[in-house]
């Protein structure tokens, strides 16, 4: 057991896999000697060398194109897109090419690659460097989507994503970088598509992701003092989606609240809410609630950003206000 930061868990997970599979390579901007602008790839260049850890020009289409071409010819790849906000610059390669190649080729092309990117708010970088774009990837058929909230999950889900034969987009939350947690010694390998109940409860199911998980947990703590027992599920993975765990929880609690960092429209919470409003409809004892960032670009000023993104208070207030 060692205590790792979320930040260092990224390199830890990648290193584990690069040692295991000598064909695995990485590419991205400033990921080599510089160790990444979030210092998430520190040490990898030193250990694995410039052939396997390649710095690129500022050319996101070239990065994902290279990743795709290599992956489909037998070389597994981890590609970094520095901020998820830059995915739209290479969104054709991600959504039209990487995601669809296997299908369009009727299985002739495999796509063992991981696209990693820093995601989310809290660093006051403004509207083009703070977005939560998990739903942008979730909506594209053919992509798998993961967003760990703890160091151990980062290591295990990174390993699972790398070993997965399909393309996985892995979101690393900027505001969790400095958080710490225990990671077991030896190989750590998790399973995609498995949510985790991080707090059991009986009155309401709160489904959260990444930075929203610790906030949901805090909210649950406060609600507990008011006699509301909230179960908190860390979704961890959007595709595959562990609907079974959510539906099972709602069956017990009869209430669903999703907590999303993305702006409201077409967020992952909407998808889950719609499924529960269908398959779990007869289990529900009250309206499905979503706590989201309002449908606005993110402002830069600290007070405004804090106001926009779901806070512990807003989660508590939303649930409290809808309690009967």
């Amino acid at each position: 057991m060692a205590e790792l930061t979320y930040r260092s868990a990224v390199a830890h997970g990648i290193a584990q896999e690069m040692r295991r599979d000598p064909s695995l390579v990485m590419l991205g901007e400033d990921i080599g000697p510089a160790g990444g602008v979030f210092k998430t790839t520190v040490g990898l260049w030193d250990e694995f060398g410039p052939e396997r850890v390649r710095d690129t020009p500022i050319s996101e289409q070239a990065i994902l194109g290279a990743a795709m071409g290599a992956a489909m010819t037998g070389i597994p790849v981890v590609a970094e897109i520095m901020f998820s906000d830059f995915l739209p610059v290479c969104f054709d390669i991600l959504s039209n090419e990487i995601a669809k190649a296997r299908y369009m080729s009727n299985g002739q092309l495999a796509m063992p690659l991981v696209v990693r990117c820093a995601n989310g708010s809290g660093v006051r970088f403004g509207a083009q460097h703070s977005q939560s774009l998990e739903n942008w990837c979730m909506m594209v058929p053919g992509l798998k989507v993961v967003a760990p909230s703890t160091p151990v999950d980062m290591v295990g889900l990174m390993a699972a994503a790398i070993r997965d034969p399909d393309p996985v987009v892995l979101f690393e939350h900027k505001s969790l970088m400095a958080s710490k947690g225990e990671v077991p010694d030896g190989e750590v390998l998790d399973t995609l598509g498995t949510a985790r109940t991080v707090r059991p409860g009986t009155d309401v199911t709160i489904v959260a992701l990444a930075l929203m998980v610790p906030r949901a947990l805090e909210a649950a703590e406060i609600l507990a003092q008011e006699g509301i027992s909230a179960e908190v599920i860390d979704l961890r993975s959007l595709v595959p989606l562990d609907m079974a765990s959510i539906l099972e929880s709602v069956r017990r609690t009869s209430r669903l609240v999703t907590v999303e960092e993305n702006p409201q429209l077409c967020g992952w919470g909407a998808e889950i809410a719609s499924i529960v409003a269908h398959e779990g409809f007869w289990d529900l004892d009250g309206p499905v609630l979503r706590v989201t960032t309002p449908h606005v670009p993110l402002p830069a000023a600290d007070v405004l950003e804090d106001e926009a993104v779901p806070s512990v208070d807003r989660i508590v207030d939303t649930i409290r206000a809808n309690w009967d």
Partner: protein, 350 residues
């Protein structure tokens, strides 16, 4: 709007035929193979055109009629395990790697015996077994992906070369720039081949391009040699292909080739391509890849009968492939849900 809206522009005529190309050091056998390939590509193209007008091709089809020498020449210069990537106009590039005619035709007909069982369609032919890594529907997208295949070959030390075909219009899109720069910096074993047929869909390329040669005039921007060839002279294409592929295989890095050519038909589907100056179309009809080569082979002493035999042989092959393609059933409806993920299915939840 007049159908022939660019009819009054000065025609852009073909380059003069380089007679010296007859003297290029190419084996008679290779030349006959090239001729056969040209016949195959032309005859399949014509057949697909017919099938389209019989309403049997339900989607679209972007034919390479008139442009066959580029794929034939490059295809012949490639090693079996080399990689090709093409655009939506990818039939000839797929066939020139040895893909099954039946598979190609059936794919356009949306049949279960299609190369991808109807999942991909005309614009997305893939035949990995023959090194054909795909036809890409989004202009420019295949260039960065070609880099990846080349990078993989470099990492594996396999000596494979990747050849990536794209259009003149594709030279103005951002992906072109990113791909060329990265290929040069990483010294990748990749050859980018611009098939400059002088038109985007319906707009003449010179109206929207800052330089004379959309691709070649930009070679220096990536430290590369400026290479422009007559894309309708298959000997010239083949010789150039050998040179740049050899260069890539030897580890000397990427090349960018611009092959000047012309489509004899429309951009896609029912387009009659009436928007082009008549004199231009005529000039290019007089510079047809297959007729040029036919004449050259005769001048090199090959007999008319031998050439006719090739053409007849290919015709039979195309007929058989068409019949086989047509005989294929439609894909089973469950195919909608297969091959999204590596487990063979499309399940995204439990």
């Amino acid at each position: 709007m007049p159908e022939n809206h660019y009819a009054d522009r000065p025609p852009r005529t073909p380059p003069p035929l380089n007679a010296a190309n007859a003297d290029l050091n190419i084996d008679r056998e290779v030349r006959l193979q090239l001729y056969r390939r040209l016949q195959e590509l032309r005859q399949v193209g014509n057949r697909l055109h017919e099938l389209f007008f019989q309403n049997l091709v339900r989607g679209t089809s972007h034919l390479s009629l008139g442009m066959e020498a580029v794929s034939a020449g490059f295809g012949a210069a490639m090693r079996n395990d080399d990689y090709s990537l093409a655009t939506y106009r990818g039939h000839a590039h797929t066939l020139s790697r040895g893909a099954s005619m039946e598979g190609v035709i059936a794919e356009l007909l949306g049949r279960d015996n299609g190369l991808m069982r109807g999942k991909g369609g005309s614009m997305h032919l893939v035949d990995v077994e023959n090194g054909m890594l795909g036809s890409y529907g989004i202009v420019g997208s295949n260039l960065p992906i070609a880099n990846g295949a080349a990078w993989s070959a470099q990492l594996r030390g396999s000596g494979q070369v990747t050849v990536c075909f794209f259009g003149d219009g594709g030279a103005n899109i951002g992906a072109f720039h990113e791909a060329l720069n990265l290929a040069a910096v990483w010294e990748l074993p990749v050859v980018f081949v611009c098939e400059n047929n002088l038109y985007m869909e319906y707009t003449p390329i010179d109206l929207v391009t800052a330089v004379e040669h959309p691709a070649a005039s930009r070679a220096s921007a990536y430290g590369l040699e400026e290479i422009v060839i007559d894309g309708n002279d298959v000997d010239e294409v083949y010789t150039c292909a050998q040179r740049v592929i050899e260069r890539a295989r030897a580890g000397a890095g990427p090349s960018l080739v611009e092959a000047i050519t012309y489509r004899l038909g429309g951009h896609s589907r029912a387009d009659m391509a009436k928007y082009r100056p008549e004199a231009e179309v005529e000039a290019w009809q007089g510079h047809d890849a297959i007729e040029l080569y036919h004449r050259r082979l005769l001048s090199l002493g090959v007999g008319e009968a031998e050439l006719t035999a090739v053409a007849t042989d290919v015709a039979a092959q195309v007929n058989a492939a068409t019949d086989a393609a047509k005989a294929g059933p439609p894909p089973p409806l469950e195919e909608v849900h297969t091959q999204v993920f590596a487990d063979g299915g499309s399940s995204w939840r439990n």
